[in-house]
């Protein structure tokens, strides 16, 4: 499900089934050397998370990306967000990001870090097979958490 009016309505009605929230953390770097890389990361992360959403629509809610620049970055943000999402009824909260520095707080919240793959020059077929490969790596992470209950 997406965080939009329709899907949120289904979430409210089906809370016992939709027990997982996915939050993309997107770093926005506006310096001329890093801007392109930053765009690649955003592109990859949003493509991948919408692919995950498509596969597991009935089990998870994909939050809008939380974006920040270097100076706005705050370690407390994911922790607080996680607490709020737990309060809202989500059993499992996953943060997914291409920004390696979040792995610092990996002990406290579930951080899934992935290096960005530049998708911009790929044709659709290659792109979707890459995303499928990435998803296949993520499934065990999700299913071990889901199995814990």
């Amino acid at each position: 499900m997406y965080f939009n009016a329709n899907d949120v309505t289904s979430f409210m009605a089906q809370k016992e089934f939709i027990d997982t929230a996915i939050v993309p953390l997107v770093s926005v770097d506006l310096t001329s050397e890093k801007m392109k890389q930053s765009g690649t990361e955003a592109d990859f992360l949003l493509s991948l998370t919408s692919f995950i959403e498509q596969q597991f629509k009935g089990r998870l809610l994909l939050m809008p990306p939380f974006s920040y620049s270097a100076t706005l970055k705050d370690e407390e943000m994911p922790k607080q967000l996680e607490a709020q999402l737990h309060n809202a009824g989500f059993k499992h909260v996953f943060f997914i990001t291409c920004d390696h520095s979040w792995t610092n707080i990996g002990d406290e919240v579930n951080i899934i870090w992935l290096p960005a793959i530049p998708l911009e020059s790929m044709d659709k077929g290659v792109k979707s097979s890459i995303l499928e490969d990435q998803l296949r790596q993520l499934i065990p992470i999700l299913s071990t958490k889901w199995a814990q209950i």
Binding site: Y2, F3, N4, S10, Q14, F17, I18, L46, S47, S50, F51, E53, Q54, Q55, F56, K57, G58, R59, P64, K124, G125, K127, S128, I139, S143
Partner: protein
């Protein structure tokens, strides 16, 4: 010249009609879109899409077939790949939609080793028989949808989805 001048009253009524027209369009557009069958909308007008699969290669074992089209989702445009599970049932080609009838996850063929010969939904362990019939006692409340199928030049073409016709 004075004959051609637009009087104040005319000017007002012109502008108001214009504005009213916009407003009416603003109200009508969403209504028109709601009136269009959501199934057709999802497939860009309900046209058939060519797949890379040859009719001759299809067996009685379900295989995953990709269907590509662009879709605008929530705040992000993505090239969503839709899939179909395609197999032969006697002489008939069957293409089932993988979208679980519970809450919409993607089901897979024989993905749960303890239930061979069934479709399995990883989200809440929903199960379906090969013809798409939901297994009672699992969350899904109806059978999997079916795609319209066509054969052109030996290739499989898939159209819009419709309610399952195999489950009696």
């Amino acid at each position: 010249m004075s004959n051609n001048r637009v009087s104040r009253r005319q000017f007002l009524s012109y502008t108001l009609t214009g504005v009213g027209g916009f407003m009416a369009a603003g109200m009508l557009m969403p209504m028109v879109r709601f009136a269009i069958d959501p199934v057709l909308q999802k497939h860009g007008g309900g046209d058939f899409v060519q797949t890379e699969h040859k009719i001759a290669d299809i067996t009685d074992k379900p295989v995953k077939v990709d269907l590509k089209f662009e879709q605008v989702d929530a705040w992000y445009k993505s090239d969503v790949t839709n899939v179909a599970w395609v197999f032969k049932e006697g002489d008939q080609i069957v293409a089932l939609s993988p979208v679980c009838k519970h809450l919409g996850c993607m089901v897979g063929w024989e993905e749960d080793s303890s239930h061979p010969n069934q479709f399995f939904c990883p989200c809440h362990a929903g199960r379906y028989e090969k013809n798409g019939k939901n297994v009672p006692g699992t969350p899904p409340t109806g059978p999997l949808d079916e795609y319209e199928v066509q054969e052109k030049n030996g290739f499989l073409w898939l159209g819009p989805t419709k309610a399952n016709t195999l489950v009696k």
